[in-house]
Amino acid sequence: MSTALPIVDHPQAAKEFVTNVPRSHWHDDSLWFVRTKRDRQAQSLPEWEYLRESASAIKRHTIANLPDYLQEFEANATRMGAVVHWAADADEHNEIVLELLQKNHTQRIIKSKSMLTEECGLNEFLIENGIDVVDTDLGERIVQLRGETPSHIVLPAIHIKKEEVGETFHRHLGTRKGEADPQVLTEAARGHLRGKFLEGEVGITGVNFGIAETGGIVVCTNEGNADLGVSLPRIHIACMGIEKLIPRFENLGVFTRLLARSATGQPITSYTSHFHGPRDENSELHIVLVDNGRSRIRDSDTFRDALNCIRCGACMNTCPVYRRSGGHSYQATVPGPIGSVLGPTKDMKAHKSLPYACSLCGSCTDVCPVKIPLHHQLLAWRGVLVGKRLLAWNKRIGMKAASWLFRHPRLFFAAGYMARTALRYLPHSLTHNRLNEWAIDRELPEPPKQSFRAWYAKNRSEKQPEESR
């Protein structure tokens, strides 16, 4: 196991982004725009809910029978001439890739977007080993040039304004100072990347779907960078999480129809590329199958469905917290609702604040194209965290006290009476001080003279109210 990760404090990490109101609003609006595009696409398909149900059923079936389908996939991929590698964790994955590169004396890698390689920290690992890695997805490249990490799994640079991209490109690509025209900036990146593509010796891609029946893999991009990235070099390394499998080719349509609509509100991604073995006898296709904790998730009845995830990012676009706090506030490869479910499976302590970075609104659950019960899983994580004593002691004690109070009705009534009385008579500055987190930005409710039960006792029942005895 790698060393313990630093502990993420989501509220603290979110503070700067969310309190920068213009920026937070801009970010929220950008993602809400994507969410509404998704809604229009979903509305245009009468069979939308049927597709979601089918996708979920296919994924659950696949995950339940994963060992069989993985073996079927390996046999068929091998038959097509691909080389299949198995990696138990991130370290093994990185070693396998490095070994392949070293064996071929490769110095220059062109990469298309892959959340799996982000998860494994492949870029850093290769750079440490003296290998140049160029991300060719535009958003990923922007983030890479700025020395940042993606803040969204589909829209890696969604947190960066075009003016800021202009500054980055001015510094690294020599565009005119102050240039902020997206067309010009994109052209600059295109020209810059074209050279890298031509120099690249190995192409590394992720995998959106692996098909057990055919042994083929499918990569979906909007920029065509994956296609160019693997068409020029002789060697293609495809890194694939073991949960990316689907049983049959005919299942693919269910997912491609859901993926692009859910992700960006497009009817289909611009490029849906199928790779069945290497392209000719001089070329190589390596598929690295990575577990890295997925089997552990598969063992859990509570969290297993998280493996349904097709990484569309719809839960991020819809999440009212994510849209306002920004992806970096999660300090995780995968942010947002699904990231907050996956984070603690890797390191519970480090990610203990993430299941609480959620108002339990359930929008993610309803938007998810593969029907992961995300907000129920986030709630379930809270129970696990408390069971492992990872909730702050003051909160645990507070809940213990509340539970006790709720089991002693007379004391609860008395406490309520005292709280209302205090609120009525104490000066505002005392009840709304800085120690009262509620009241820093909000008024407390105006306390009524009597509780409902006191009113009821007086008006509707024979008994006298507790608090007037």
Binding site: P11, A14, K15, V18, T19, W48, E49, T318, P320, V321, R324, S325, P355, Y356, S359, L360, C361, G362, S363, D366, V367, L379, R382, G383, V384, L385, V386, G387, L391, R396, K400, A402, S403, L405, F406, R407, P409, F412, R420, E437, W438, A439, I440, D441, R442, E443, L444, P445, E446, P448, K449, Q450, S451, F452, R453, A454, W455, Y456, A457, R460
Partner: protein, 258 residues
Amino acid sequence: MNVALFVPCYIDQFFPDVAIATLELLESQGVNVSFPENQTCCGQPMANTGCTADAAPVARKFVEIFSGYDAVVCPSGSCTSMIRNHYGDYFAADDERFLKLRDNTFELCEFLVDQLGVRQIEGRFPHRVSIHSSCHGLRELRLAGSSEQMIPRENKLRLLVESLDGVEIMPITRQDECCGFGGTFAVTERETSVAMGLDRVQDHVGSGSEVMIAGDMSCLMHMQGLIRRRDMPMRVMHVAEVLAGRALPQKKAVSAGY
């Protein structure tokens, strides 16, 4: 029908008129309502924090108190969902007493529309209003269709509000975005919670509405707190108050009060 009124703890203590309005509304529909006086809370605050061991005894006590009625009615979608969708964790799968209670616990609008078949409330509310769809009522009880799902459903709160004379429902831009209350979330993630709440209030203000109506007082308590601190031009009312014929509160951002 012998119905028990389940009044969420914070409504009992801070918004008694919401409970009185609920009681009056049910009685005006000919329902025989009792208020079990030993009730306190359903245990949701503990459960949502993950403190299931602390929620369990509260849940057991709740079932003890509320068993034996034909139905339990609650003016909160969130607390109703706690019983219906989350109490299963605390009881055996074949616990008859619990299962009967679970299947007969209803949110107020749901009870009126689905159980009593009410389609029309006699009354007048000559105001421009806007509706806040509280999340648990929407996505856990399905009291209306959510904007994410492509499943048409009747909006029970809207149906009842719309039946009042003179009411005009103003459209908001994000029909069912969360207000950011979220229980302890409001405190642990204060900055984000406040940002979410302010955006909701602004949406309602922008619609030209005079009063925001919701089925959950917890969302309204949070937004009311934001409105009052900033003196924003919006009032809030629980749907029970509107349907029971309460007038628009005089003071802005104060529920009808008692």
